[in-house]
């Protein structure tokens, strides 16, 4: 079974709302304090990217329950300019030196699965999942 909820991102305050939603859902899924903080940080990064580079967009949280795998999927979508050079964005080594925060490689590390769909002028959808072990 899957539970889905979402937060629209228009302002910096919505980032906080998205974090809160993510943390609550992570707690419900049974994640411990550290993993809750990681999932929340990933949401924070993604929401911040929407806010900074696309202006507006949406964070959706999917909670996977039931008998099979349990976990949480974050879907961050926007209709912004798209990411021109994904390879560059996914490169290591600049998340700590620059002011860009964890960046995409950081989000990838915080979660178990990570996928980017982006098209110039159309927008970006980033999907990231963490499984409960």
């Amino acid at each position: 079974m899957e539970y889905r909820s979402s937060v629209d991102i228009h302002s910096e305050w919505d980032i906080v709302a998205a974090r809160q939603l993510g943390r609550n859902e992570a707690k419900k899924s049974g994640f411990g304090t550290v993993d809750q903080a990681r999932i929340t940080t990933a949401i924070s990064e993604l929401a911040r990217n929407i806010y900074l580079y696309a202006g507006k967009g949406k964070i959706e949280i999917e909670r996977h329950t039931g008998n099979g795998l349990r976990g949480i999927t974050i879907i961050a979508s926007d209709s912004g300019p798209g990411i021109p050079d994904i390879r560059k964005v996914m490169e290591d080594g600049f998340s700590t030196s620059g002011g860009l925060g964890a960046g995409m490689p950081g989000v990838k590390r915080l979660m178990d699965e990570f996928k980017v769909d982006t098209e110039a002028g159309v927008g970006t959808i980033i999907t990231a999942t963490k499984w409960l072990r």
Binding site: Q20, R87, M90, T96, G99
Partner: protein, 333 residues
Amino acid sequence: MPRIVGKEYKDLLKRYITSQNEENLYFGQQFSREFIEKEISPEEVISIHKNALVDVFPDVPDKVLHSFDFLIEMMIHYGLALREHQSLIRKQEEIQMEMNVAAKVQDTLLKTKKPDFKELDIGFVTEPAKKINGDYIYFLNDNCSEASVAVADVMGKGIPAALCMSMIKFGMDSLRNENTSPCNALDIVNRIVEKSVDDSMFISMFYGKYDARDASFSYASAGHEPALHYKASEGKFVELNAKGLLLGVHKDVEYEEKSVILEEGDFIAMMTDGVTEIRTKQGFIDEEIIQSIMLEVKERSAQTIAETVYERLSQLQDFQLRDDFTIVIFKKE
């Protein structure tokens, strides 16, 4: 450790202890980035935290305070790892700069001019997996009726491959003045490679030549991926195989030469294994995917066909190339 940081940290911590809301955690985390930028080490963070806690909550038990001293000790090696990280990043940036210069030198050194040829539409994409490309395209355009291309893949990637490649370039340069056949071209390059590199370095090469006089495409291969011939009349692809050892193995190799006739709308796709042997997390992709991508855009220009294959396949790999990627399209107009 700056005093202002401690003051600000205390305020944030106090607010969080009073009401555990998300906003305070968000600002706390933003603040922690500044810490990292200011090179405040994790053991210092624990110490700042301890001091703030005592300030916010003066009757904190001694046992708790001792526990923080223990935690500081535990964090010292984490702090060292982080500082080492910062120095490695600087080193990495230096190497990056050297690689950038090398990539620029390689570009200039290996530049080749796409022939501007009536009746034949030529398109290509070549993308390195890392900074430096180990695949190589060389165009020859001897006279008004012939256009040739060599597509090569040096075993391995990066710098060693780049060094070998400049050798191929100068080998090809020596062909410039000879109006040579594909099997002859491979024979000459093979001798140069065999002489100049040691036994552990191999190069595969596909050599194709279009002759406008009879619309024939003749080709030879040194252990390279087969090319694909799209036959517009049948709406199907045919593999172009030709026997021949990799360059650099033996001095004397017989390279088989074959030829096909290109009809209107036909095209030839020459590729390296970075195109055909694409792996995703699920395993190797089926080679038919390449054909079906090209079918979709078969009416478009040679350049669009090449670029579409690149875009789709790089998406399949999550935009992380595992090998250098090169495709050349010769399309009969």
